[in-house]
């Protein structure tokens, strides 16, 4: 959808921001440009809508040579979202969102209807329609920025550190909502950030850039974390690469160990036998519907005839199929016996995730 061919940008002061960049942004994907400051990520993004003119090389947008299209026409087909929104302070939310439609000559009524749709799409309450930007929270401003960029339904969206100006909690929520939105609208998105975690969370693919706009690696987050191309990439990904990989995988992707399970009717002797078979000193107790009753070490059971009658311990944390393996790891380290108990949607016991399972997954 967007193709950089040997694109170089040198500024008049002699600094080279981007060096012979070859990059292909596939249609409908989110490509994140990430790297340290001075790596030319914002310059690269701004060349797509020609806010910055390349010094040399070729640039294709939607199959057309972008350098041969009048900049203002090119830009009207590309949504542009910047940090803190860049909202027009003298215009209401509705008027901000309808800016491009109005420029293109839409009737006011149609544009307003479109604004209402977009506000709903980005999760803005209709009551803010007539407010001015300074009356909105940072998160709301950012949503207006996204809605405004989507106003004429452009196939491409450029997002330059869009969530850089909001606090971490709001940022995490905006990221989640952006992903939900993207699943719905399927735009081709170029996203710039300096935060590798945001890149991993948002990107279908990540381009890691080095100072001077040198592309070090372009890959999916999983590939990147599993096989960093060089020391720079590995360093940029940080020391907790294993954890980051776990955060990309879901509990449903691994097969849980059935674990040492006994029914509520079983006796202490039955439990001891099951535990021994599994090489553990504890058992999980479930009832007839496979709902979890609790767990206990063999020592604690004494000579009880029916485990269901005992006051059993409860795991502190559970995991479900849609949780990440990182959440499973967290449940494991919080557990006295070092496993994460996996439950089904109805709360039924589905087995345990062990550290052997996680290690095997990372080594794959």
């Amino acid at each position: 959808m967007i193709t950089f061919e040997q694109v170089t940008k040198r500024f008049p002061d002699g600094t080279t921001a981007v060096t012979e960049l070859d990059l292909d942004v596939p249609e409908g994907e989110v490509v994140v440009l990430v790297g340290p400051s001075g790596c030319g990520k914002t310059t690269t993004l701004r060349m797509v809508n020609r806010m910055v003119e390349p010094t040399s090389g070729r640039l294709f947008v939607d199959g057309r040579d972008a350098l041969r299209i009048a900049p203002h026409e090119l830009r009207r087909g590309i949504g542009y979202v910047i940090q803190a929104g860049g909202l027009f302070p003298h215009r209401t939310v509705t008027d901000n969102i309808t800016t491009v439609p109005r420029l293109l000559g839409w009737e006011r009524e149609r544009a307003t209807r479109r604004a209402r749709e977009l506000m709903e799409l980005v999760g803005l309450d209709a009551v803010v329609a007539d407010r001015y930007p300074h009356q909105l929270s940072g998160g709301q401003q950012q949503r207006v920025g996204v809605a405004r960029a989507l106003a004429v339904d452009p196939p491409i969206l450029l997002m330059d550190e869009p969530f850089g100006a909001v606090d971490p909690i709001v940022r995490a929520r905006l990221q989640q909502e952006m992903l939900r939105l993207q699943a719905e609208v399927r735009k081709t998105i170029v996203f710039v950030t300096h935060d590798i975690d945001e890149a991993i969370a948002m990107g279908d693919r990540i381009a890691i850039l080095n100072v001077g706009g040198v592309l070090e690696q372009f890959a999916t987050p999983a590939e990147l974390l599993a096989k960093p191309a060089n020391a720079f990439v590995a360093d940029f990904l940080g020391e907790e690469r294993g954890l980051k990989r776990l955060s990309l995988r879901k509990v449903s992707e691994v097969t849980a160990d059935p674990g040492p399970v006994v029914g509520a009717d079983a006796s202490a002797a039955d439990a001891g036998r099951v535990a021994a078979e599994h090489g553990t000193d504890w058992v999980v107790v479930v009832d007839d519907d496979r709902h979890l009753v609790g767990w206990a070490t063999v020592d604690e059971l004494g000579d009880a005839a029916r485990l269901g009658e005992l006051d059993l311990q409860q795991p502190r944390l559970f995991v479900y199929a849609e949780n990440s393996l990182r959440a499973a790891l967290n449940a494991m380290v919080s557990s006295r016996v070092g496993v994460a108990v996996r439950l089904g949607p109805q709360g039924t016991y589905e087995g345990v995730v062990t550290h052997e399972i996680l290690s095997a997954e990372l080594l794959r």
């Binding site: 830009r75 910047i82 929104g85 909202l87 302070p89 209401t92 001015y132």
Partner: protein
């Protein structure tokens, strides 16, 4: 209190309300000078200020114009113009315009330059052309400052036109100058009161217009801008 009674007597004298030296006639005359010079100043200063602000070229000039305007005493310039060119509306008008330009020019420039870079970036990024950015974004956002400049210039022109009565121009200043010359203090005070009221009225009317033409979204910026403009103004 004697003066007070004299002033009341002056105002209630039917002579002040009829003829070419009457209060309404002098008021219209004064307003005419002020309106004409302010309008001409706007026509000159606004386009230059917008252009310099939009392109960013010649900013130092736009800022220094205000400093020069402040340093040159308008009273002396008005008299010099009359001494050299004779008393006439046009030479005085040119001088009044010259002093009305700096506040409008500087404020317009400052206002346009002061538009948040991200806002301008967003406007260009969504495909606005240069003049569209100016019309849809820069002018409306700079409007509080532009209007503040117009207010400053207008009030200043009312004051300078009063001074222009000394070398012979008409308007309300005539009451003061003639009163001083013939030692009629009641008339001097009456003229001073009229001039002061006119200046305050002009300020109030323009403040009301400003509220109409400035977006509510900029309300917070408004108060600041008004005070800011005073910083670039010249008392007269």
């Amino acid at each position: 209190m004697e003066v007070f009674a004299d002033v009341v007597a002056w105002f209630t004298d039917p002579a002040q309300w009829d003829g070419s030296n009457s209060v309404p006639a002098r008021l219209v005359e004064h307003l005419g000078y002020a309106a004409a010079s302010t309008l001409v100043a706007i026509m000159i200063a606004l386009p230059i200020g917008l252009w310099v602000g939009h392109t960013g070229r010649g900013g130092a000039l736009a800022v220094n114009v205000a400093n020069v305007g402040r340093a040159v005493p308008s009273f002396g310039v008005i008299i010099l113009v009359v001494v050299l060119a004779g008393i006439g509306f046009l030479p005085v008008l040119i001088a009044l315009v010259a002093f009305a330009i700096p506040p409008i020019l500087t404020n317009t420039y400052t206002g346009v330059r002061g538009v948040d870079a991200t806002v301008r970036d967003a406007a260009e990024g969504m495909g606005m052309r240069g003049w569209q950015v100016l019309r849809h974004v820069e002018i409306p956002v700079a409007m509080p400052l532009i209007m503040a400049g117009v207010r400053t210039s207008s009030v200043q022109v009312v004051a300078t036109a009063t001074l222009a009565a000394f070398p012979g121009l008409g308007g309300l200043g005539r009451y003061i100058v003639n009163g001083l010359a013939v030692q009629n203090y009641a008339q001097v005070v009456a003229g001073a009161l009229l001039v002061a009221l006119l200046a305050l009225a002009v300020e109030a009317v323009l403040a009301a217009i400003q509220r109409l033409v400035v977006s509510e979204g900029l309300a917070r910026a408004n108060a600041d801008a008004a005070a800011e403009a005073r910083m670039t103004s010249t008392a007269a």
